[in-house]
């Protein structure tokens, strides 16, 4: 299913400055895997070391939180929009660490 993933501003530097990425996936988990496969740096910002989505980041399919659907297994339809929603707090730092060169 061709779906769009909307990248929030704090994460755009790690997604090649893109605001929107198109992927072909059957589930949310698959879509996010494809996203972090394409943008490796994004993975460590979205996922904790144990492989789970960091819990200050929420994922919505269209307007529904995946936690009230089937989480990573939420099936996707053609044209669905996946939104990644981080908590933000204005001028102070976000949770996404600035470029640390490795």
């Amino acid at each position: 299913m061709s779906v769009k993933i909307l990248i929030p501003t704090p994460l755009r530097p790690y997604a090649g400055k893109e605001g929107c990425v198109q992927v072909d996936a059957r589930t949310v988990g698959e879509a996010l895997d494809l996203l972090t496969g394409r943008f490796a740096e994004l993975r460590k910002h979205l996922y904790a070391d144990d492989g789970r989505l960091r819990n200050f980041v929420n994922v919505f399919v269209n307007d529904e939180d995946i936690r009230s659907l089937q989480k990573d297994n939420t099936p996707l339809k053609e044209g669905d929009i996946i939104s990644i929603i981080p908590s933000i707090a204005g001028g102070s730092s976000t949770g996404f660490q600035p470029v640390r060169l490795e």
């Binding site: 501003t9 605001g19 200050f56 929603i85 908590s87 204005g90 600035p98």
Partner: protein, 394 residues
């Protein structure tokens, strides 16, 4: 979900408007959606604004203009020159004054009929319940995560709605938390982000008008709650993308497992929020990398002597337009890819705006084998202070 929060179920029998007030609010009174009843509800409402900055500015102005009878302001900061790009309650003559003093003056001038209370203090677990208690509605206009969680939890414990708004660069969020049956901030963000390092200067910044938009939305939601009109944002997260000029809405639900507002509450009093957000000590920045440094004066002396020093600028191109030391530009993010453009046989001084990004670059390059490399301590800001005051600071 329509939240009709009955903040003023019974208007006091003494509540009435003076002749001046009737004229002042005539544009409200002639609308059936507000009318005399609505204006009296506004007059009797008590709203607390946490933060008198970017969001607090339109909030204070529009709630005062609307005739909210009692407005509380919490902020301990002083007006800074760089605030004027977005904190429109203040003027140039206010720079250096406590924000609350300047805000109270401005709002009182806009509307002398209302009562403005100021709390020039940091909101903490020790004082939050006491400060919030007298108010009907709390509006969160803060700029840090510990305070957001503190305000959220205090509102749930006190049973008060929390009108939420937040911004980052070009994006904004708004919602109403804490109405009966509705979600709270923790339902959406169970945990705060880990403490960031001091943010890279290139990633910071905010479009000045953005908090104006989100703060105005917060004022609007507050007024709707007081009037009991329209559909509040309770149960919805409003997302605003300023560049795309697009509003979107996501559905929010109360999380039955939420520790503070759920069915089995484990948080029944305020906690240590700095600890919760992983911040050790109030103002302790995360330790920066330690690298060899050179003071601006020393660099100037060496350049004047004719030493062959290669200056590397790791800022972003748009910063170079503001001011430059005519260094060789490789933005920090490109250093790994472009390090081969640098000659490790030469002496290299790396700079950025304030010395933090350049410290990262020096650390990286040293690990890559560069031996004759130093960080310009304090960056171009320090150069302006110590060597060449004609260089603008930003």
């Amino acid at each position: 979900m329509t939240a009709r929060s009955e903040t003023n179920p019974q208007l006091s029998s003494e509540a009435k408007l003076s002749k001046d007030e009737v004229l002042r609010y005539s544009r409200h009174l002639i609308m059936p959606e507000v009318g005399m009843d609505g204006q009296l509800k506004l007059k009797q409402a008590k709203v607390l604004l946490i933060g008198a900055g970017g969001l607090g500015a339109p909030l204070g102005l529009y709630l005062a203009a609307a005739g909210v009878g009692r407005i509380g302001l919490v902020d301990f900061d002083v007006v800074d020159f760089t605030n004027l790009q977005r904190q429109v309650t203040f003027g140039s003559s206010d720079v250096g004054r406590p924000k609350l003093e300047a805000a109270k003056e401005r709002l009182s001038n806009l509307n002398p009929e209302i009562q403005i209370d100021t709390y020039e203090t940091k909101l903490t677990s020790e004082n939050a319940l006491e400060i919030l208690r007298p108010y009907d509605i709390i509006v969160d206009g803060t700029d840090n995560f510990p305070t957001r969680y503190l305000v959220n939890d205090a509102c749930i414990l006190l049973g008060k709605p929390n009108v939420y708004g937040s911004i980052f660069r070009f994006e904004g969020q708004a919602s109403v938390f804490g109405v009966p049956g509705g979600p709270c901030y923790r339902c959406l963000f169970a945990e705060p982000p880990p403490p960031g390092l001091v943010p890279s200067c290139a990633e910071g910044g905010v479009l000045g008008v953005l908090p104006g938009i989100i703060g105005s939305i917060q004022a609007l939601e507050t007024i709707k709650l007081i009037l009991g009109s329209g559909d509040s944002l309770a149960g919805r997260l409003l997302l605003f993308d300023a560049l795309a000029m697009r509003f979107r809405e996501l559905k929010l639900r109360r999380n039955p497992e939420c520790p503070v507002c759920g069915d089995h509450r484990t948080i029944t009093k305020l906690i240590d929020y700095e600890q919760f957000c992983g911040i050790r000590g109030e103002d302790s920045p995360a330790p920066a990398v330690t690298v060899p440094e050179i003071e601006p004066r020393e660099l100037k002396a060496r350049l004047d002597r004719g030493d062959d020093v290669f200056i590397l600028d790791v800022r972003e191109p748009h910063e170079v337009q503001i001011c430059t030391l005519n260094g060789y530009l490789i933005p920090l993010g490109e250093i790994p890819r472009r390090a081969s453009e640098l000659d490790s046989a030469r002496e290299i001084v790396v700079h950025c705006r304030s010395g933090k990004r350049s410290a990262e670059a020096v650390d990286f390059l040293r690990k890559a084998g560069f031996r004759k490399i130093w960080n310009l301590k304090g960056g171009i800001l320090a150069w302006s202070d110590q060597v060449d005051p004609s260089v603008p600071k930003y």
